[in-house]
Symmetry: C2
Subunit: 408 residues, 2 copies
């Protein structure tokens, strides 16, 4: 069942994506399996940031809004992301955070479905997806949030539903929703769909237009490797753009921001969902990450992810009988693997101290990101060994319990 | 009337703030008078960004949320900004953009004043201030935006006003509102106040708590020198924090974001106005700019600004009779000077081509930022000479007219 070192090295030697690892600056002595939370540093990001800081900000100063193309960056990087998620140029912009973009699109969708009051979502969805919907319902008394278990979603698509808002891949389990089927069902019921691609974009194949999706958002700092707190993106299908209006009517979404007129008039295209002035430094780092993702063959990525995930699950299950798989064993799934253990928090602390970086999610989940761009077969094989060592020696007993206020 | 070169050099030689110029990396051959739009590069920002990229992101990876203090950055930098605007620690956080923060606080204020429907603001306010209020009114049908001329504001503070939302310093004219008097009048009428400090923070003395202000927002990339599109800040007076709730209920504003529970529960303090994950690279650059501002004596800054502004107006008026002053000649004012000319756009293009960087604002305004941290008396004296040369030679006739879509 378990492979030996020679076997995993043979897999790495024949890996067509092996060269991508060199595009990232990963520290020695670390197996990084938390790219689903924060992607590592692309080597090109350093040079791009130096150029943005020294040449564009330092030398060019205000002139760089035109001369260095800063003003076009939200759309330019958005168009590159569009190619990763099955969208067309002009359907995606980079802006704000995932949370802010969820608010914009959920509010716009509710506004486009008068007489329907429900935002339908999944119980246990990523918290910000739930919180943003709750916050919107708190200011729009006509709106209700209905969060139901995953297997009850389709049954709740009634005539009162304005919007079905779901994470494509679940942040904890990696379970993947059937975007095509749920989009079809939602639209048949008269609702719009809003997909959160935070755990999908850059990790797995996404085909928004192939699924006839309406709206989507996603994260820049996970599988797109855009840096800590990178700007997020949003997608509005071309057919909806003239009709949907952002409640966050900031000047960058105006049809003519530099006319400085008193009346808001939304831009004709997806730019109407911009709001304030974007961080150029953050966009610069994100662009470097997105450029790498755009250079990868999506099918090769999916094939390697499947083999890495299979190897990791097989090795961990063979070595660590006290861990319980908390993710789908086979597709449809995203690109991380979760195991449950009552001492999950302390076990993860012990693993991190030994150079295997994953993360912990309440109440008992050890989460490991499988990122084929920079992880090899030997990496996940060694990761399984490290987990076994920590569990067999009960090394986690030296770790402290979880502290409030710390990122886990 | 006009000073000679020896006289302005004597002023520079005795300038107690002269050393601050060396903290910025300004290009040779440029007189930079657009710090009111984008502040220049602090030399410390480069090293701080290198550390954030190489050490924190590259080496520390996800661990840096705790180990490098990323999770505390919005509050840490907010507390430093608090010291610049007369706020107390715990009343300011860095988050999102000015536009997004305007939405959060305007919506929270309207929610706290049930039965009152009006957001009162100034006609000709900075566009995003108007647009955000209009966008809020579009989704909250009970809310109305009333934009009136500056001298009619007090008369409109009736029993229907929920919020008085004003820019402290006008982006075009530099005219400064009397924050204390208008806050008192608004509160006497039962309204809350929301001050946009974008053209104030880092430029002039601001005393939010001395004025008993309720709410404020401000920009990071102008006089705080935080880099292009730097994150913005927001202020909520301590007395309001438990009562006001952000409509943008993102996970970073949750009382316990890493508990990952399904129900939103706002953080007890000003952190409830955080939303999504902040850009750490953008925050890093902003912190470098804010540290410089925090090191300056506010009274020395104000004294030098007054002298620079006086010198610039005197020199330009003496040399350029076709320009009309479009700013207050004396206080109360902000830290930029505007002149009107029908060919303002082309004149500014000609000035920029000659190394004097200001900007243009519709319909006819040449705008010059007076930033005592890095501008000296000789700079503004030479700037006036350059303006005279361009006007006397009509050199602007070689410049093209304004192009749509370009930042001006």
């Amino acid at each position: 069942m378990s492979l030996d070192l020679a076997a995993v090295r043979a897999l790495d030697a024949s890996d067509p994506l092996r060269a991508f690892r060199d595009r990232f600056d990963l520290p020695d002595g670390v197996i990084y399996m938390d790219g689903n939370s924060l992607g590592p540093l692309p080597r090109t990001a350093r040079a791009a940031l130096t150029r943005a800081v020294d040449d564009e900000w330092g030398r060019g100063l205000i002139r760089s809004w035109n001369d260095a193309g800063w003003i076009d960056a939200p759309r330019r990087v958005g168009d590159r992301i569009a190619g990763l998620i099955g969208a067309s140029p002009g359907e995606v912009v980079v802006a704000d955070s995932t949370s802010v973009n969820l608010f914009k699109l959920a509010a716009a969708a509710v506004g486009a479905r008068p007489g329907r009051r429900v935002i339908l979502t999944e119980a246990g969805n990523f918290p910000t997806d739930l919180y943003i919907a709750q916050g919107l319902a708190a200011v729009l008394p006509a709106v209700q949030v209905r969060a139901v278990p995953a297997d009850e979603i389709a049954a709740h698509l009634g005539p009162d539903v304005a919007l079905l808002q779901l994470s494509h891949v679940h942040y904890k389990s990696a379970r993947r929703h059937d975007m095509a089927a749920l989009t079809t069902a939602a639209q048949a019921a008269g609702a719009l769909t809003l997909w959160d691609l935070s755990h999908s974009a850059g990790a797995i194949e996404v085909d928004l237009n192939g699924c006839n999706a309406d709206l989507a958002v996603g994260c820049g700092y996970k599988f797109l490797n855009g840096g800590p707190g990178a700007p997020a993106f949003l997608f509005v299908a071309a057919r909806h753009q003239a009709r949907l209006v952002s409640p966050l009517a900031g000047w960058m979404g105006h049809a003519a921001p530099f006319d400085f007129v008193d009346e808001y008039r939304p831009a004709p295209g997806v730019e109407r969902f911009l709001c304030g002035t974007p961080s150029i430094l953050a966009l610069t780092a994100l662009e470097a990450g997105v450029e790498i993702a755009a250079a990868v063959d999506a099918q090769a990525l999916a094939a390697k992810a499947k083999r890495l995930i299979g190897l990791f699950i097989t090795e961990v299950e063979a070595r660590c009988p006290t861990l319980t798989l908390a993710s789908p064993r086979h597709g449809p799934r995203g690109s991380h693997v979760s195991f449950a253990h009552p001492e999950g928090y302390r076990i993860m602390r012990a693993l991190i101290a030994r150079g295997l970086i994953g993360d912990f999610r309440e109440p008992d989940i050890l989460r490991f990101g499988i990122t084929p761009l920079y992880l090899g077969y030997e990496d996940v094989w060694r990761a399984a060994q490290l987990i076994q060592q920590v569990l067999d020696a009960e090394a986690w007993r030296d770790e402290s319990v979880r502290q409030a206020g710390r990122v886990t």
